[in-house]
């Protein structure tokens, strides 16, 4: 074999000046030639360290091997054995912290572009094959057992897909009028195009999963009703739907949004389009508080709907920003201004009760705190103001309280996360399982999918045990 290339083949992208005027995908995907060349960088290690970094256990060297042989459909099939949502994972997984981090090449060079290859394969499959015949249920006799899944986000879709493949009858209940959960209302289409999301949901549907929208479990009926009225097990994947705020003066002025509200208006309700009636005001100057992936999405969305200036305000430093490096870089290239080591003190309103500025304090980095990041310390007397007509507070989410407040006996953490057995995903109530952000608080799509995979196995074992069936 020739000498290994040191760097990943770069991902072709829309130019920053162009892309801030549209909602089309930023990353354009590898061509066939680039994909094969990138696949050639894979050493095909016997020990497959990359797989240990994948929450859904994709056989990575196997699918990359298929790419080397130009068998792209075969590669897609390898991925789909363990991952029902490859086109999504290939786009939004933080591979640099997972499979790619474990890649042997990463010790000396850049790792193999596993995520980029996954994306190539799933897009190739979508473009070049007729709808793939969904796999037949492994155990058709399991169809008489019903599993309810609460929430159609990444955790719910994964549980539903895995259990349907085994043979169970699965119904997913979604609170909103459209499917996908955070994949729909949270992640903007320039990172995850809607046709790709629709396609992945259709695939899960093709496995026999039934979807019911507009059902708010905890209100329309309770989790326990599901167990008492037709279901053998319930999986709660209700996400982290309760936005955090700062709790400072003026936070409820007009023009102050949570990241969730801002993104939901645009991503779900399409408020930026003239023919859709959900309103939004195009900011002249927008400030986004926070530096996670949601904050980056808010910034980049604000630019695309026409904001003149978009500024991130973050109380820690560059190294501490929790967003993916790629997203921070994208935001920077698109013209987002970063005011780091800056902490909001209060929001200032005009005579009509609408926000017009925020007052901030400068910070310095002190000793590391419990998260291992250096703790920001206020610089006394350093107050200054930044003008803004829109402020978006993107500090993360807590789990939505609807389920825990309506499910007797469901044990939760003090901050609201549902407590589960990490090996099975089962909660304190037998037959009720949970996973994803409802358990961990706001995390990643792939960790929610990983939790969904664990719970699917846990649910299968539970139902088999309850009904005296042999272990799979």
């Amino acid at each position: 074999m020739a000498k290994v290339l040191e760097k990943q083949h770069p991902m072709p992208q829309q130019d920053a000046e162009v892309r801030i005027t549209n909602f089309d995908e930023v990353a354009l995907g590898y061509s066939e030639e680039t994909a094969v060349a990138e696949a050639e960088r894979c050493l095909g290690c016997k020990k497959k360290p990359c797989v240990s970094g994948c929450p859904v256990n994709i056989d990575i060297p196997e699918f990359i091997g298929k790419i080397k042989e130009n068998d792209y459909i075969g590669a897609a099939q390898v991925i789909k054995q363990t991952n029902s949502l490859p086109a999504i994972c290939g786009r939004v997984c933080p591979q640099e912290n997972q499979c790619e981090k474990e890649c042997v090449l990463s010790k000396k060079f850049e790792s193999v572009g596993i995520g980029r290859l996954e994306r190539f394969v799933s897009d190739y499959e979508a473009a070049n094959s007729k709808v793939t015949e969904p796999p037949k249920a492994l155990h058709p006799e399991l169809a008489k057992y019903n599993v309810a899944v609460v929430g159609s986000g990444p955790a719910g879709l994964t549980v539903a897909g895995d259990l349907a493949k085994l043979g169970y009858s699965v119904t997913v209940f979604e609170a909103l009028h459209k499917l996908g959960g955070v994949l729909r209302y949270g992640i903007p289409e320039f990172r995850l195009p809607r046709d790709i999301l629709d396609r992945e949901i259709e695939y899960v549907q093709s496995l026999g999963v039934k979807f019911v929208t507009d059902v708010i479990v905890g209100r329309t009926f309770r989790v326990m009703d599901l167990l008492e009225r037709g279901f053998d097990a319930v999986f709660v994947g209700s996400g982290a739907g309760a936005p955090k705020f700062l709790g400072i003066e003026g936070e409820n002025l007009g023009g102050v949004y949570s990241g969730n509200e801002w993104l939901t208006r645009i991503n779900l309700m399409r408020a930026n389009r003239e023919d859709y009636s959900t309103p939004i005001k195009i900011p002249k100057r927008a400030i986004i508080i926070g530096a996670g992936n949601t904050a980056m999405d808010c910034c980049r969305t604000a630019l695309r709907i026409g904001s003149e200036k978009v500024t991130i305000v973050y109380r820690r430093g560059r190294e501490e920003m929790p967003a993916r490096a790629e997203e921070i870089e994208n935001a920077e290239h698109e013209g987002v201004e970063f005011k780091l080591l800056t902490n909001p003190k209060r929001f200032i309103g005009d005579e009509k009760g609408q926000v017009k500025a925020i007052e901030c304090l400068r910070m310095e980095l002190g000793e590391p705190d419990e998260s291992g990041r250096r703790r920001p310390v206020t610089v006394k007397g350093s107050e200054f103001t930044i003008e803004a007509d829109t402020v978006i507070v993107a500090l993360g989410q807590n789990p939505n309280p609807l389920i825990r407040s309506t499910t007797d006996g469901l044990e939760t953490q003090s901050w609201g996360g549902i407590i589960t057995d990490s090996a099975t995903g089962m909660t304190s109530i037998p037959g009720v399982f949970a996973g994803g952000d409802a358990v961990t608080g706001e995390a990643t799509v792939i960790s929610a999918m990983g939790a969904g995979k664990i719970a699917a196995v846990g649910i299968d074992r539970h139902i088999r045990k309850m009904h005296g069936l042999p272990e799979a």
Partner: protein
């Protein structure tokens, strides 16, 4: 109908299209701008209580809007919503006819009104708010309260549910701003007379923001517990976006999960008004576009 007509006991693993249809089974125009829809929605009819609301989404390009449940019939599996056709969303809702299905209707949301025997209770409905006040009034009467109802509106055609309210009340007072029906004036005038003349234990006010605020200011000096049902801007209605936040007693509350009922004396009314007004211009454009262009 399925073999499980009752939304309370039906098999949830086998819901039928009919049970999920949100089909309009009754429609009545209560005035030029007030519309009543009775919707087949057995799961919601089985679980809704007075004071709770539903989120509706009239069509692909529409806004999601909250509408309070005005009446329900768990046996028939229907809920009744009454709305004033003022914004684009309610104008779109007004286009549905018997037999149509509403694309999305979910709930019940929010906390039910806390109903108990307070003694003598006054229920005040302003305009379309009377539709929301009705089940609360009925609940209070059933709980043993002496019930006085005040129905107020700008003019006679906007007075709704008068007969129903009279039938359940020990006393009913009507006011119109222009004097076209009942007493001329606003609801706080008879309310103040009541507070001055007898012991009032509990007041509920549901209607436009200025009216609820005026009621709060009227009852405050008397120290009478007063509840209002707030309707700020909402998107999901499930606590996810925080758009509906309101300051009550110095604390931030989400109307959709912590309300919609709040202690009227603790609400920061200026803040609520400012938040509600934020999209005023855009709402006007949407309404005008709808009026001019029809459905698109």
């Amino acid at each position: 109908m399925s073999n499980h007509p009752d939304g309370k006991t039906c098999n949830l693993a086998n819901l039928t299209p009919d049970q999920l249809s949100n089909k309009v089974v009754g429609k009545r125009k209560l005035s030029d701008v007030l519309t009543l829809l009775e919707v087949h929605s057995p799961l919601i009819a089985a679980s809704a209580k007075p004071g709770q609301f539903v989120m509706v989404w009239p069509g692909e390009k529409s806004e999601r809007i909250p509408l309070t449940v005005s009446d329900l019939d768990p046996e028939a599996g229907t809920i009744t919503i009454i709305f004033q056709e003022v914004g684009r969303g309610t104008l779109e809702m007004g286009k549905f006819e018997v037999g149509d299905s509403i694309p999305s209707l979910s709930g019940p949301l929010g906390k039910p009104t806390e109903i108990e025997n307070y003694g003598t209770s006054v229920v005040i409905g302003g305009g379309v708010g009377t539709a929301i006040a009705r089940p609360v009034a009925a609940g209070l009467k059933k709980a043993g309260n002496t019930l006085i109802t005040i129905i107020g509106a700008r003019e006679r055609s906007l007075i709704i549910l008068e007969e129903e309210m009279r039938a359940m009340s020990d006393e009913t007072i009507i006011t119109t701003d222009d004097g076209s029906y009942g007493r001329k004036g606003i609801v706080t005038e008879p309310l103040k007379e009541l507070l001055d003349s007898r012991k009032i234990d509990f007041v509920v006010a549901i209607g436009p923001l200025p009216m609820m605020r005026a009621v709060a200011e009227t009852t405050k000096p008397y120290g009478v517990k007063t509840i209002v049902s707030l309707d700020p801007i909402m998107i999901d209605g499930t606590g996810m976006c925080g758009g509906c936040r309101v300051t009550v007693g110095g604390k931030t509350m989400f109307t959709c999960v912590d309300g919609p009922d709040f202690d009227a004396h603790q609400v920061d009314w200026d803040e609520l008004r400012a938040r509600k007004a934020f999209y005023f211009e855009q709402e006007k454009v949407q309404r005008e576009a709808f009026m001019a262009g029809g459905d698109e």
